[in-house]
Each structure stands twice: as C-alpha cells, then as structure tokens.
C-alpha cells in the first residue's frame, strides 16, 4: 500500500500537474507563513476556507454542469456544527454563572430557554461534532440531489431552487434565535478541548491545519477527476444523453458531485469557525454563495487548483480595494463578473493552460469579435453569427 501510494500519485497527476500542485503547496506552506504577520496570515486562512467551497463548485459546476447558488448553506451548516460544539464548551456553568440557567449558551438564556434543546446535545462531544461537520451537509445535499436529479431538474431550475433553499435557511436561522443565536450568529467562541483558539500560536496551528486540509482536498479531488468517475462527470457535462444511453445513471452521478461539493464546503465552514471565532447566518444567504461562484469562475471553472488562486485573488482584491477605494470596489467586482464571463471564460486556469500570450490574443480576438458583431448588428444583418453557429451545430 505504502509503495503504491506514490505510484498512484504519479499516475493520477501528470508531471505538469504535480509541478503546479507543488508550487501551490510551497506558496501556502512556506511563502505565506514566512512573508506575513499573524494578522495577514489569519486573513489568508480565512480566504482559504472559501477555497474549499470554490473547489466544490469546480466539481459540481465545472465538471458536473450543475450550478448551485446555495453553497453557502453547506458552508454555514459545517460552520454551525463546529460553532455549536465550541459554544457549548465556552458556556460551562462557571463562565455563565450570572445567567438564570447557567450552563447553556447565553443567547438561549436571553430567550428564556431553560434547558439545552435536544439537537444541541450531540454537540457536547467533539467526536460527534467532527462527524456532524461533513455528515449533516452531506445528508441535506443527498436529499436535495436525489429529489431533483431523479426528476431531471437541472441547469437554471436547480440554480434557482438552491437559491431559495439558501433564503429559507437564513430566514429560519434568523427567526429561531433561541435555538440558533439569530442574526448575530454564534459568537464569542473560546476554546476547543481546553485549547484556546484565540491565541497567536493557535492561529498558526489552525492556518497549517487548514492549508494541509485544503491541499489534501485538492489531491483527493484531482485523483477523483482522473478516475473513471471523473471522466464520466466530464462526459455527462458535455453530452448528458449519451452518458444516459450508455447505461449510466446520470442522476446518481450528479448527486455524487453535489454531495462531494457540499462536504468540501462544510469542511471550509468548520475551518472558518475555528479561525475567525464565530459563525453567522450571513454566510448562508445568497450573496456569499454567489461570491463563491465568482471565485471559482475567476480561477477557471474546471481547474481544481485554479479555484484556490481565484479565491485568493478575489478576496485580496476585495480587502485591498475596499480599504483604499470603497466607492470603486463594487464597480470593480461587478466588472470582474462581467469580464470573466465575456472575455476570459476559462479564468486564470485558461491563462495558465494556453499561455499568457495565447490567451491574451484569444481575449483580444473575443473583444474584437464583440466589436465586429456590434458593428455588424448595427447594420442589421439577417443571420447574425450566433445563429450561424446554431445552424452549424444543428447540421453536425
């Protein structure tokens, strides 16, 4: 087993891929920690937790062709599972002695709860909580996935339904504040099994745990994509019917991709809670979910490592520009959304794959193409390029 591990690794990753993986590893494990203070490093750690979500989107959207606008739900659920454990540990009877019911989280006490609700009880145990982090989101994803993909709900419909799920869950969490902490979220987390997660040394440790987890996730994901499963996913994205007619159950494949993405997001959420020290319903909503999609798109929607770079760049940009030009920030991010779709559909990974020069000329061609089409459509022609393309495809 031990010797085959390396063999497998080289089998699943071509040399070029291995190099890019090692570069990323070096960046995360050596360059960042050496070049930044703990404040910036903690910030990077926070961004990297979003990269889990973006990586999940690469699988479900880039490969599976299903775009979920509710990945925040899974990120949030993972984060909440972790936060519930930490909150219970922070609310021991001594620390909460001034409450009318000591030993329960403070927000429950404010809402006249006198006992711990039943679904909180398992989160007294670290082991159970760590199991719940991936399990709860996976079960929800499974339920949603089976229900929708078996009935061949896809594409746009799926996107909108997941968006509504995100809306429901955030209304629920905000409304049920006695059980969930409401709009404030679960805050003031202190220790994990007695280990203070707020200290600088803990932040270093958590950063590295997070980085290793992310690199591990990248390996697993790349490996999965190289397997037969991954090739089926690609085939399904490109010609769903052919895969179906070949005897594969497309619904199962899609459900798998969706659950996989959900579990990755949940890991990110749990690491977020640990590093930032709180969890709130603002992650469950639609806005963060879509922002994570843009991270994946900037990185290149079919590139696992690109997702990490995309997340880092979008979030660094957000921090940088919102500090210096708060007015300009929304224009910039808006323009980025549009540019990535119109001019660089393959994102950073596309730049890397095709080489900077080639993809720049591609982008130029696309821009010139836009201009040409613009000119031509101004002098209204009967059959614009889009239709020509359609006809060509139909004749094929």
């Amino acid at each position: 087993m031990g010797s085959s591990w390396q063999a497998r690794l080289t089998k699943v990753t071509s040399n070029k891929e291995l190099t890019s993986f090692l570069i990323l590893a070096a960046l995360l494990l050596v360059v960042f920690p050496l070049s930044m203070g703990i404040f910036r490093l903690n910030l990077v750690g926070k961004y990297l937790t979003y990269a889990f979500v973006a990586m999940g989107l690469v699988i479900s959207w880039g490969y599976g062709g299903i775009l979920s606008l509710g990945q925040g739900v899974f990120f949030g659920l993972g984060g909440y599972c972790m936060a519930m454990f930490l909150k219970l540990e922070a609310s021991d009877p001594v620390a909460t002695a001034i409450q009318s019911t000591p030993g329960i989280p403070d927000f429950m006490d404010w809402n006249q709860l006198t006992a711990l609700p039943f679904f909180w009880v398992p989160f007294k145990s670290l082991a159970l909580s760590l199991i719940a982090v991936p399990l709860v989101p996976a079960l929800l994803a499974l339920l949603v996935g089976v229900a929708m993909f078996k009935r061949r709900v896809g594409g746009v419909y799926f996107a909108i339904i997941t968006q509504a799920i995100a809306a429901i869950l955030s209304i629920l969490i905000i409304g049920q504040q006695g059980y969930t902490g409401g709009v404030n979220g679960i805050t003031d987390l202190k220790t994990m099994h007695g280990w203070d997660i707020r200290t600088d040394s803990a932040k270093y440790v958590l950063y590295f745990v997070n980085a290793f987890l992310l690199l591990g996730a990248a390996l697993v994901t790349t490996g999965m994509l190289k397997s037969k499963l991954g090739r089926l996913l690609v085939a399904m994205r490109d010609k769903e019917d052919r895969v179906r007619f070949s005897g594969y159950d497309v619904a199962n494949l899609k459900t798998f991709a969706f659950v996989f993405a959900a579990v990755l997001s949940a890991l990110g959420g749990a690491m977020f809670t640990l590093q930032v020290g709180f969890m709130s319903p603002s992650f469950v909503g639609i806005v963060p979910s879509i922002e994570m999609v843009i991270c994946a798109a900037v990185g290149g929607r079919d590139s696992v490592l690109g997702a990490v770079y995309g997340t880092l760049i979008v979030n660094f940009g957000k921090t940088f520009f919102s500090e210096r030009f708060p007015e300009l920030w929304l224009f910039l991010i808006g323009a980025l959304f549009i540019a990535v779709v119109l001019v660089f559909p393959n994102g950073l990974a596309g730049l890397n794959r095709e080489g900077i020069r080639k993809s720049w000329s591609g982008a130029r061609k696309r821009i010139l193409g836009l201009r040409d089409r613009w000119r031509r459509s101004s002098s209204s022609d009967a059959m614009p390029p889009a239709v020509k393309q359609d006809v060509k495809e139909a004749m094929r």
Binding site: F39, L43, I98, Q112, G182, V183, N184, L189, S280, S322
Partner: protein, 412 residues
C-alpha cells in the same frame, strides 16, 4: 459665508471650553504630555498626532443607516481638532468599510487594532456587527464607542455604548402611552431578529406586570419583508389601543405606507415606535406617518442651545437638507466622551482611559446633559416625539435622567 462659519465656530468653542476647560488649557501645552508618557502600550500616537479608527458600513444594505453616524463622528473629530486636538495632538482618522458584512467587520477591526494600532475606534451599528468585533476588541484590548440604541444584555470593558439600552428606551415610553393615551391593550410588531424580539419581550413584561395592560398580539416578519396587508388586518381585528412597532430597514417604509393606505392613520390609531428616527422618515415620507409617536433620547427639533449649534454645524458641513437622527447624535457623542476620558486620564492607554471613564459628564451634548455610568452606558432622558409632515418630530414629553440597566432584573 466663511465668516459666518467662523463666528458660529468660535461660539461653539466658547461653549465647549466651559465644559472642557481642562482640555482646552492642556491643548496649548502638548509638550507637557510627552509621547512616551501618554502612550505606554505602543498605540499610534506621535508628538503631533493620534490615530483613531472609524468602522461603519459605507456600502451594502446597512449604508442607509450608518452614513449618519460616519458623518457625525467626523464632525465631532473636526471640531476637536479645530479646538486644539487631544493632549495637544490632532486626531487622524482611518476609515474602514464593514460593507454590511459581519466577518468583514471583524477583519477590519483586527486590521485597525493590530496593523494600525489605533487609539480608539468609533463604529458598528447593528448588534450583529458589534457581536462580531467584540472578541477582537477584548482580545486586543481595544476601545470601541458604539452609537446605536440596542437590546442591552451586554457589557464589556472595551466598549462604551453611547446609545440607549432597551429599558431606557422602552419603559418610560410605555408609561407615557398608558398615562397620556389611556392605552390598555397593545399590539407588538417587529422585524424578526434579536433587537425587536428582546425589546418586545421587555415591553410585554412591563405591560403585563407593571402597567397591568394586555398584549393582544405579537408578530414578527423577516427582515426585508414588503407585504404587511395580513398584519394590518390582524391589527384591525384585534383593535388594540396602541401599536408598538419595531420594524426596521426597507420593511419600515412598506409597513407605514401600507398602514396609511389601509386607513390606519393617527386619527384612528395610536402608534408608538422605537425604530423610526429622522433618517428613516426620509425614506418613509413624513406624510405617511404623520401623527404617530416615536420614543428616542434625541430629536433634531430639540430646543436647546447645544442642539442648535450642533444642527447648524452639521448642516454647514453636510448640506442644508441633511437630517439628524438619534443614532447620528449618539455617534457625535463618542469622540467627545473619549476626549474627556483621555484628558482626565492624561493618557491614551486603553486601561487608563477605561478607568477614567465612569462618571464622566458631557454638558455640551446636543441631547442635553449626559453622564457615563460605570456599566459603560449613558445616563440619558427619554423623549416622545410626534411625526410632523415635514419629516421632523414635535417633542411632546421628556423624562428625567434614566439610569442605564443593560441586565434588567425581572425583564429577562
């Protein structure tokens, strides 16, 4: 124009110097306060300058509300600088945008405290943003002046709350309703999150246990809800003597417009709110709420010399059309309270400023006299204002100074 401004300024400062005679006197002799002595914890204080942070949402959904606080804090800091600064040092502001996003607030709070080493921060608006930054301030031992009226249930060494906590804003208002409007039955309405829920809980206990009235309905709608027809019909069914409303944000506008359209006007119905200030009225439109009541510690129309100067200065800086709500005024108090505490302590060190803060008085506050309680909240009055067509309030009632009580016994 410049001349007039100058005279009002000098007038203002002569008034201020009465209150902070000590401050003005020391301002002239900064050399008496060597940096090494007034700053032993490595804050961003130089011989000529002290850096403070400002952390609000300039973008996103909360920008609607937080803009006023940003402006008021800047005004106060400009005025302090014009009068010689603090311990002979000018205040420099680093403004960060929380972007209506709680993790961003936490991130920017860390940046201000760790990278910029600011001496204090004026900021936050929603409770959620405050809860998100609170652990940061406690761990880094920073200082935060928080301007919004809020639900209470919190007291931190590192935070000063310049708005009212729930009991200050609620109890006296309900007493007034019962005494003046003979209200016996109440309908409680709120947006569905912690502040309205906690406030209504306190209101209900007070109505049932102290005022011996009845609550005939209690309803919550999600933030951003826009259809209040069903709720209005329920109100019509229950016929309460008074509606007690804590609706916030865009929902506010929908609620009052639809209330008016359904014929529920002040001619037929008494309504008291604790969530509508002049800022909100701008969006609702005075004509849609005219005659209803609001309970606040401050209204722009307050008739006292401090407030006249404040309103004049605010309009001179931000335009004649700008309005000032309760939170805006509370934001204005922050820098002045900090200045008073720093000067009393003779130091910028957070621990010394915190130690010097209890019982600090501000006689020049636009709302009148305020005093800082050892529990970090302000002693303040409660006023009842009635909405007028022009989007202002007519002040009908003013209580005595109310002691802040963030953990009210019997109301939890």
């Amino acid at each position: 124009m410049g001349n007039r401004q100058y005279t009002y300024r000098s007038k203002l400062f002569s008034a201020l110097s009465a209150a902070c005679a000590l401050g003005i006197a020391t301002a002239a002799v900064a050399a008496d306060y060597p940096t090494a002595k007034v700053n032993t914890t490595g804050l961003a204080v130089t011989d000529t300058e002290v850096t403070v942070g400002q952390l609000h949402s300039a973008t996103g959904t909360m920008a609607i509300s937080e803009t006023g606080s940003i402006q008021a804090e800047r005004l106060a800091i400009d005025q302090i600088n014009a009068s010689g600064g603090i311990l002979g040092r000018k205040i420099k502001i680093i403004q960060e945008d929380g972007a209506s996003d709680w993790p961003t607030f936490a991130e920017k709070a860390k940046k201000l405290l760790i990278s910029d080493k600011v001496a204090t921060v004026f900021g936050c608006w929603t409770s959620a943003s405050r809860k998100a930054v609170l652990p940061v301030f406690e761990k880094e031992n920073g200082l935060l002046y928080y301007p919004t009226f809020y639900e209470g249930l919190e007291q931190s060494k590192n935070v000063f709350y310049t708005g009212q906590e729930a009991t200050q804003q609620i109890l006296a208002g309900l007493d007034w309703l019962v005494k003046e409007k003979k209200a016996k039955t109440f309908f409680l309405i709120g947006s569905d999150y912690i502040w309205p829920r906690t406030s209504n809980k306190i209101a209900r206990k007070h109505i049932e246990n102290v005022l011996k009235g009845t609550v005939v309905g209690e309803e919550y709608y999600p933030l951003g809800h826009t259809q209040f027809g069903s709720l209005i019909n329920k109100i019509k069914l229950k016929k309460p003597d008074a509606i007690y409303a804590i609706v916030v944000g865009g929902s506010n506008v929908s609620f009052y417009k639809q209330l008016k359209a359904a014929g529920v006007t002040s001619a037929k119905q008494t309504l008291l709110t604790i969530s509508v200030t002049e800022d909100e009225l701008l969006g609702i439109g005075g004509e849609n709420m005219v005659g209803f009541y609001a309970a606040m510690k401050y209204f722009q129309s307050l008739d006292n010399p401090n407030n006249k100067k404040f309103v004049e200065a605010f309009k001179a800086k931000y335009g004649a059309k700008s309005v000032i709500g309760d939170v805006t005024q509370a934001g204005y108090l922050g820098p002045w309270l900090w200045k008073a505490a720093v000067e009393k302590a003779g130091s910028f060190d957070v621990d010394k400023v915190v130690a010097a803060s209890p019982n600090i008085e501000l006689k020049t506050a636009p709302e009148g006299y305020v005093k800082l309680h050892p529990n970090h909240h302000l002693w303040s009055k409660l006023r009842i204002g009635q909405v007028e067509l022009n989007g202002q309030f007519k002040v009908l009632y003013e209580s005595g100074l109310i002691e802040p009580n963030p953990f009210p016994k019997g109301y939890q």
